[in-house]
Amino acid sequence: MAKTLPKTDVVVVGVGWAGSIIAAELGKEGLKVVGLERGRERGLKDYSMIHDELRYGIRYELMQDLSKETLTFRNNMKERALPMRQLGSFLLGEGLGGSGVHWNGHTFRFLPYDFEIRSKTVEKYGEEKIKGLQLQDWGITYDELEPYFDKYEKAAGIGGEENPFGGKRSNPYPNPPMKETPLTKRFKDAAKTLGMKPYHMPSANMSEAYENQYGAKMAACQYCAFCERFGCEYGAKADPTVAVIPFAKNTGNFELRAHSNVTEVIHDGSKATGVKYVDVQTKEEFIQPAEIVVLTSYVMNNTRLLLSSKLGRPYNPDTGKGVIGKNYCYQILPGTTGFFDDEQFNTFMGAGALGATVDDYNGDNFDHSDVDFIHGGSISINQSGARAIQHNPVPQDTPRWGKEFKKQSIKYFTRSMNIGTQGASMPTRTNYMDLDPAYKDAYGQPLLRLTYDFSDQDKNLYNYIGKITDQIMKEMGASFINDRSPLEHYDIVPYQTTHNTGGVIMGAEKETSAVNNYLQMWDAENVFVVGASAFAHNGGYNPTGTVGALAYRAAEGILKYSKDGGALV
């Protein structure tokens, strides 16, 4: 039998960026917050052996232990979904700080277009343009969200320069941009020659020593090149365990419980009374009663916990009705590798978010009248630091092993570079999440089932933007580039990005969305569901800048709710 614990004001499920921001902001205002995190507690002191590519970059030590829990996957509703037995396409976070420990730190604001994508697209191009897409506005505008972007950028010490295509900013970035390198300069020069407007990538690696609003001191980035998939031993990367959690604890109102895996939201149909969790080390079960329940357990588990707890209206892919599990989106990633026969570059140096970007082909920044897709993506060069195991670029006709492979992969390790795109991903009726009928996790709970494949919209976007990245790479002086094979089916194996979105989307109407613009559930007023799960589609950038903004927005909503109660919208 589960042991019932004393009631708290707020219980937060999962302590990554979203959970820690909620904990800090509520703790500061005097609410008692309990944070339940299924993974272990960790911080700077645990990163002393971090420059180990095999352990962290290839074996994924900082990420989710799939022996306990995974999800199942199929490309379409006719297939049998099978478990994702090994990490691949995306690297789910686990442990204090979540993925915020081992992210890169590219920190963008979604475009004003994103938040009103349906209205703006239909207004300009007509209803026909969005045929086959389950497109929705987000129930909030960029201008309404701007103050929260500002707060998040300050918390995370973002260094950058103004995006020429970005929404209006109330303040400049709190830090200057990262350094200019031969690679970023070359990209910018080429983009300018082609008439585009490049700018330095906004970075959560500190371009200078920095202190945020929580009194967290972060050191200057050392460009050590072990950033994405690694924790930062310098405390130079904005990471919740450095930037936010110490403050939350210092409020005296935040109690963190690690190794606590939440299995259920307990509720009476319209309000939650708390959560049930299991101590994953001792296997003891507890019930944590709370006035307010906040789910910040990432896209997958925000969705899964609601479905398995039978809270909210499950999405039905046959009718498009219901909301929990709806509008799963991912990221479309056209790009170009350029090979340089006569030059050698310091490709092994870098920082997670060292790079340069163009937005000329993102959002509705270019005319879509004559193209067969909407939106686009941010195109960047990212000098994050190539490492020896993972990085074996070879010209396209090279065999995958043997003498020739050895020769070419060694040669081009320092003689190639990549331009990539974070392409937007649009929702369709049949890309969604529900519960798997067969497979279970280590605690007996059903796994989440993901049904996902690329649509024509995705393929057309990929083809079009890929030609642009080719063009830039050629302009950069590459001796040659590889052909790009067309985008076909989504494959769960090769790493793409950990930019999963949707499942508990926000919106202006209860009928079509799960949460309102404070991330409060329409169907349970004391439950807030925070993270990229709220994205009604995925934009043409990495998500976390927008996740951070939504977390600040939700924190404000929760405070309001704790005083006044009721539906906030």
Partner: protein, 248 residues
């Protein structure tokens, strides 16, 4: 941030290594190359491994997973074809890759400790990833046996007795999924073997491969460095002497 003490320890090691280098006088890939299938000559190891005291030889070059030398030998031959020794530098055997793989198979990776291994098992589509009920060390057991039996079928000889080009043909058939195997596809096994070989070539020497950081040196990869802040803006290519975790 590398502490002073590390430096003095390093120089003592370097001293030991250099002195044994002189005393033993045995060094060079030629000799190592001739030792395919057998253990490394301990004296040679001392000379080629920067991280081990001479008195003890390369203590970690012993099999912790394979108990049958013939199977280990098949593995050695296979990885050497995947990453051969040539004019660019050492191949998989000289780099210690077979021992790297052996040690990995003995540990949590070989037992898929952090992966979802609950049934039921079904083959799955091309896009659903690994679906075999075999643990990795079982996959290697089955795969290595099959390399040998398939060599018999195709060339009427043991894998280790084949010419290099014939071994390549066998491996290519595995890669192309042309070989029937128990419990998993031959392609799955080949891909895992290839990945593990590259890991052994380029992982930190602490894991037993990438001996003397020779894998990194070929690639001009400096391994673990605390900082590039002073070089990151450089227009010139910077050659940096590699460092491993040992120097943390």
């Amino acid at each position: 941030m590398a502490a002073k003490t590390t430096d003095s320890k390093m120089s003592r090691r370097r001293f030991l290594r250099n002195s044994s280098y002189v005393a033993g006088g045995l060094v060079g890939g030629g000799l190592l190359g001739g030792l395919i299938g057998s253990r490394f000559n301990p004296e040679t190891e001392t000379a080629s491994t920067g991280s081990v005291d001479s008195d003890h030889g390369t203590a970690n070059q012993a099999q912790l997973y394979f108990t049958n030398p013939e199977k280990f030998e098949i593995l050695q031959h296979a990885v050497e074809r995947i990453y051969p020794k040539d004019e660019t530098g050492p191949g998989a055997i000289d780099l210690g890759v077979p021992f790297f793989i052996d040690h990995q198979l003995a540990g949590s990776w070989g037992h898929n400790a952090r992966e979802y291994m609950q049934g039921p098992f079904f083959p799955g589509s091309n896009f659903q990833g690994y679906q075999s009920p075999l643990k990795r060390n079982e996959l290697f057991d089955v795969g290595i046996d099959r390399l040998d039996s398939y060599s018999q079928e195709k060339f009427k000889n043991k894998f280790t007795e084949l010419e290099g080009e014939q071994q390549d043909e066998v491996l290519k058939d595995f890669e192309a999924d042309k070989v029937k195997m128990r419990g998993a596809t031959s392609k799955t096994f080949f891909n895992q073997l290839r990945a593990a070989t590259l890991e052994g070539v380029y992982a930190d020497p602490a894991y037993g491969g990438n001996l003397n950081m020779e894998g990194w040196k070929m690639k001009s990869f400096p391994g673990h460095q605390m900082s590039y802040i002073n070089q990151i803006e450089s227009d010139k290519f910077v050659e940096i002497k590699p460092k491993g975790l040992h120097s943390y």
